[in-house]
């Protein structure tokens, strides 16, 4: 009957997936609590969500501290679910992203009529899905995490019943996402068929053995999974849904999709695709190289002509996905296993910077577009006169996305380009540099508008709510902090036991 699976005990589950347990329990508690709360009390629900996320974050940090002294990584059900620093660091990114999303949402929900409790616990469940994707070492479990995240996000996107665009966004996301799910599952089925196991670590050895005889099947599986995950990270040519969905979704959810959902798909991409097919990476890495280059090019070039701020951010997020693919693509020429950890550090650093910057930028976008009642980039005109703090913060976020020095985004890009050159991928480094230059054009476009004088008289000052200021403040501190002292995070990343102690 295969390997003996040790029984799950409450203690072992709590030790390894405590953060997920807390979030799921809070989700169910909020579901029930919703029945007993009146309208005013429901305003507290998102705060409860934030509280549970903070506790979950604490548990993840506890796991990371524990693993430093442990001799081997924690695992459940025969390495079906593992506790390693790879999963933990991604979980921290998701949790921070979700907390900031909820903070933006608190302001957003005060102005747009949405069911507050449902919104909160769906977001919590989506976060659990993302966390499962990062920590699971089993294809079935990863797939279920992916579905949990996807289904929850389809609903969150389509929640605005009064907006036709929201319905269109949700429908498009659902249809494209369902295709992605089907492709991923089809790809996974070949792995199971070839190796007889759903465990990634075991399948990895099996795949290396059958590669020569069944190359077509293995490659088919790889391409299917890449396409499926590619839809989630909006990789070209699977990016079509991104602008429409980002435009129609409630603004905090757009931020969530472009930060947390994307980060989760990258966690899955690295763990599943790279691991399963690592033995013959030099045969297929060119697929990734081409896709990364295309994604950077298409995202940046298409963004130049956008006039709607949310669509512009959508194309910008496509471009960012392209940058994030670079560290994975260059592994095809990697000389040693150490390069994997280097690429991982690059991805995590960039993702951390990207998530924070995205949240800060969307907090400001949420406020400005609501105030102007228009998502046209013209609504940013003269922002400096109306609120110097917001205009300067937004400029810093945009500069960080573009990769200007003394912001976190600069070091993220710098590390990725350095890694690419280190692995002799000069072309990819060149394309990344070139497309970044294009990106300066459209980011500067918004900045120019913000610092332009208002043409028709004095506009009233823009009032920021407390929670939005908090999000902007946190994002600002981290963006500049990591820009000035990138070593603070890099040191931590260097000490991590990514997949357990070597």
């Amino acid at each position: 009957m295969g390997p003996i699976i040790e029984q799950l005990t409450f203690q072992s589950v709590w030790d390894i997936m405590g953060a997920e347990v807390i979030l799921v329990l809070t989700g169910f508690a909020l579901l029930v609590l919703d029945l007993f709360l009146d309208k005013e009390q429901k305003k507290l629900v998102p705060w409860l969500g934030i509280l549970s996320l903070i506790i979950a974050g604490g548990l993840v940090v506890r796991n990371m501290i524990n693993i430093q002294s442990a001799t081997e990584i924690g695992q459940l059900s025969g390495y079906l679910y593992v506790m390693d620093d790879y999963g933990s660091i991604f979980k921290l990114i998701f949790i921070v992203g979700s907390i900031l999303t909820l903070l933006i949402s608190i302001d957003y929900l005060n102005h747009v009529k949405l069911p507050k409790s449902e919104y909160t616990y769906l977001l919590l469940f989506a976060t659990v899905g993302a966390m499962v994707m990062a920590s699971s070492l089993d294809l079935i479990t990863i797939f279920i995490g992916l579905e949990l995240l996807s289904i929850a996000s389809y609903i969150l996107v389509g929640m605005r019943r009064d907006s036709a665009k929201s319905a269109e966004a949700a429908m498009k996301y659902l249809v494209v996402g369902a295709v992605g799910t089907a492709l991923t599952l089809y790809g996974m089925s070949f792995i199971y068929g070839l190796t007889g196991t759903t465990n990634i670590a075991m399948a990895m050895d099996g795949i290396a053995g059958v590669w020569a005889d069944f190359e077509f099947l293995v490659m088919l599986s790889l391409v299917m999974m890449l396409a499926g995950i590619g839809i989630k990270i909006s990789m070209v040519p699977f990016q079509m849904w991104t602008p429409d969905t980002y435009e129609g979704a409630p603004t905090p959810i757009t931020a969530f999709l472009s930060a947390v959902s994307k980060a989760a798909a990258f966690a899955m991409l690295f763990r599943v695709v790279l691991f399963l097919f690592s033995s013959h990476i030099n045969e297929w890495y060119l697929i990734l190289v081409v896709l990364a280059a295309l994604t950077m090019l298409v995202g940046n070039v298409a963004a130049v002509t956008q006039k709607n701020i949310k669509r512009l951010m959508a194309y910008s997020s496509i471009a960012q996905a392209g940058y994030l693919l670079v560290p994975i693509a260059v592994l095809g020429k990697a000389q040693s296993g150490l390069n994997v950890f280097q690429s991982l550090s690059e991805i995590v650093f960039y993702l951390a910077a990207y998530v924070l910057v995205t949240m800060g930028a969307f907090a400001i976008i949420s406020l400005v577009t609501r105030d102007a009642d228009s998502e046209h980039i013209e609504s940013f005109r003269g922002l400096y006169q109306r609120s110097p703090f917001l205009a300067i913060s937004m400029s810093i976020f945009l500069l960080s996305m573009a990769g200007m020095p003394i912001t976190a985004g600069f070091f993220g890009k710098f590390l990725i380009i350095l890694g690419a050159i280190h692995n002799q991928s000069f072309w990819l480094a060149g394309i990344m540099f070139g497309t970044s230059v294009i990106s300066f054009y459209y980011y500067f476009g918004i900045m120019r508008l913000m610092f332009k004088k208002e043409t028709d008289g004095i506009e009233p000052k823009l009032q920021t709510s407390g929670t939005l200021s908090l999000v902007v403040g946190i994002a600002l501190i981290v963006t500049i902090g990591l820009g000035v002292m990138p070593d603070a995070l890099m040191d931590v990343l260097g000490k991590l036991a990514w997949f357990g102690k070597a």
Partner: protein, 177 residues
């Protein structure tokens, strides 16, 4: 490509495949939603047949009960209780042609690819035994996996179900004013 041996199982497989593919194609070409729902019922039943052929009796029965039975009927009810106009034939345009070419290309590629695979080797890698290690009852095998190794995903599926249920209610309920 070696011509497959015509055993009883092979004939059954071919007939079932015909039903599945035929229903699926017919579903795409019918213009009325109600026929589409009936056709997808055909696909579900056919797939159940394939499961039974693969000795996965339990999954086959579950497929009939849940998909062919419950889900198809649910869809039929949903269609009957809501109003539907007659759908217009979509005109053939560049997009249609592109999709046909792309799908045809994929089909050709897969056909070519599957023919290059040495299936005899595949058979020898995982030979079919009369006494599989999980015994003859597939119900027991499924139960064993779900409640031992796959407990965590099994529990997570319940969260997915809650999310889907809540989502259905949120998206379907009337606007409150």
């Amino acid at each position: 490509m070696a011509f497959p041996q015509l055993t009883g199982q092979m004939i059954a497989f071919m007939l079932i495949s015909l039903v599945v593919i035929g229903s699926a194609v017919a579903m795409l070409f019918t213009r009325r939603v109600i026929y589409m729902a009936l056709m997808i019922g055909g696909v579900f039943i056919g797939v159940a047949g394939i499961y039974v052929l693969l000795n996965a009796d339990f999954i086959g029965m579950a497929q009939v009960l849940i998909y062919a039975g419950a889900i198809t009927i649910l869809m039929l009810f949903a269609i009957m209780l809501t109003h539907h106009g007659h759908q217009e034939q979509t005109p053939v345009n560049g997009h249609t042609i592109f999709s046909v070419v792309a799908a045809g290309g994929l089909l050709g590629l897969l056909y070519w690819g599957f023919n290059t695979v040495d299936w005899a080797k595949w058979q020898s890698m995982s030979p079919k035994t009369d006494a599989p290690e999980w015994g003859t009852s597939s119900v027991k095998a499924v139960a064993n996996s779900i409640y031992t190794q796959y407990t965590i995903p099994f529990e997570l599926v319940s969260v997915i179900l809650i999310v889907a249920l809540v989502g259905a209610v949120i998206l379907a309920r009337k606007e409150e004013n």
